[in-house]
Amino acid sequence: MKTLVWVEHDNASVKDATLSAVTAAAKLGDVDLLVAGQGAAAAADAAAQIAGVGKVLLADDAAYANALAENVAPLIAGLAEGYDAVLFPATTTGKNVAPRVAALLDVMQISDILSVEGPKTFTRPIYAGNAIATVESSDAKLVITVRGTAFEKAATSGGSGTVEAVSGTGDAGLSSFVGAELAKNERPELTSAKIIVSGGRALKDGDTFQQLIFPLADKLHAAVGASRAAVDAGYVPNDYQVGQTGKIVAPEIYIAVGISGAIQHLAGMKDSKTIIAINKDEDAPIFQVADIGLVGDLFTVVPELTSKL
């Protein structure tokens, strides 16, 4: 089987989630990559180093600068002719573009796969991960998004792919990029961090969140996450949200502070290796999934913990 993986990149390097998609694709067959962007030659060179890849298609055009789905999807749908499967990391950009490609190809997409069970058979989470469905596609071509935490990352070196320029399909003239407010963060990225400290509604306000959660995270060299309630209340920006409709994480250690453990939150973190929960309510549902629980008031427990580490 021939597969094409859409590469998420920042023009210089390849984003981690793509590496998991490459691993999933390799379970299906040969892997080529598509780097679409403007001035993305360095990203294509980096992509060619990924272990096991064949060709790296480079579509370099102003129309692809911000990965607008209206422009990228026709390009991918056209290239899909030469492939049996097209895979995307299940990131916000991947999830934006992939279904547009699938519909152009008249294919029913398989979202957020957890495993490859056969050439057309996959598992995927449904109902916020409270059930795992095994699905088999009857479409001639496959369009798939890949859950990053479910597959090992392919090695970023050792590959000997060849970069090949492909011509673009231009600007569809439907949409334009206005701007972005991207979080500047010195900390590890949530989806690839080894340790995550997450705070919930109990943190009271943005200042308290800053004063309690960030120093603990700093001590542990951890990324910082949050529940929806904490984001909705404005303690931290939206990109901190972990859960069914936020980021899916599976670090070595996940520390949930003042988070009750609603199913929508658990959906995003219950595959973490070790879960530690700090909550003053001993019956909080988070304790049903926690490996280590500490019942206590976070306003005394967290400063004490931070000072003793």
């Binding site: 789905a69 209206e70 990131t91 916000t92 950009t93 999830k95 934006n96 573009v97 279904p99 547009r100 490609v101 699938a102 519909a103 152009l104 029913m108 997409q109 398989i110 979202s111 058979t121 989470p125 449904i126 109902y127 409270n130 059930a131 795992i132 469905a133 095994t134 699905v135 088999e136 596609s137 009857s138 439907l174 949409s175 206005v178 972005a180 407010e181 991207l182 979080a183 340790i195 909705d232 920006p237 939206n238 990109d239 069914q244 409709t245 980021k247 070595e252 250690i253 199913i263 219950k270 304790f287 049903q288 490996d291 280590i292 629980g293 500490l294 427990v301 913990l305 003793k308 580490l309």
Partner: protein, 249 residues
């Protein structure tokens, strides 16, 4: 401008789903069903645009069983003007839903279609993008802000790195994220009024759409259950545990 708002009847978000013992799916008998939370946000956004004088009419649509009428009545009680039920007892996949919606768009010519970004049952996150592709229209997915600006719409999107804003020419497709708005509750008088608002019933065949599934569900299983762990009595014990794991000195 007219706005179409597709809504889905799903398990209520407060209910913990249980997998059927025979592994064929999730048990929905005697389970509370509600409008998909993201679709409530979509309905709310359409109503706000109407209240702001940016839209004249809101048409709610549901593809699903006869009971999805209740979901449509909820949308009407919130403030939608009329509703269309495309009735099907079989499960309809996002691709087929998008095709049905395309048929309705052809008849209704809306300026905007606002959908939820995902349904909390199948978690597919596909229908809006697919509809946009089939119509050859732009898409503003995972919206946290929607502003109509002449013959264009600005959509601020929640993305992995933060927020980004795109400008789309109308007509356009928007899918909602959680922080776009807080949906209102329907008042009792509005619930009564909603009973008299028009609700048409159609079938997938009216739009010439074949709803035969492309994906076959072979099995539905419980995820691996985590064993509850231990409780530690105090911070010192927790610190020792962290040291044992090699993450504290």
């Amino acid at each position: 401008m007219k706005i179409l708002v597709p809504v889905k009847r799903v398990i209520d978000y407060n209910v913990k789903p249980r997998v059927k013992a025979d592994g064929t799916g999730v048990d929905l008998s005697n389970v509370k069903m509600s409008m998909n939370p993201f679709d409530e946000i979509a309905v709310e956004e359409a109503i706000r645009l109407k209240e702001a004088g940016k839209a004249e009419e809101i048409v709610a649509i549901s593809v699903g069983p006869a009971k999805a009428q209740e979901t449509l009545r909820t949308a009407l009680a919130m403030g939608a003007d009329r509703a269309i039920l495309v009735e099907s007892d079989a499960e309809v996949e996002p691709l087929a839903v998008a095709k049905i919606l395309k048929g309705i768009v052809a008849e209704e010519n809306p300026g905007l279609v606002i959908l939820g970004k995902q349904a909390i049952d199948d978690d597919s996150n596909q229908t809006g993008q697919m509809l946009a592709a089939l119509l050859g229209r732009p898409q503003g997915t995972f919206a946290s802000k929607v502003e109509i600006d002449g013959d264009a719409v600005s959509v601020t999107r929640e993305v992995d790195g933060g927020l980004e804003t795109v400008k789309l020419t109308l007509p356009a497709i928007v899918t909602t994220d959680l922080r776009l708005n807080e949906p209102r509750y329907a008042s009792l008088p509005n619930i009564m009024k909603a009973k008299k608002k028009p609700l048409d019933t159609k079938g997938p065949a009216d739009y010439g759409v074949d709803i035969a599934p492309r994906l076959k569900t072979l099995k539905v299983a419980e995820p691996a259950v985590r064993q509850a762990g231990i409780k530690v009595p105090d911070v010192d014990t927790l610190v020792n545990k962290l040291k044992d794991m090699g993450i504290a000195n």
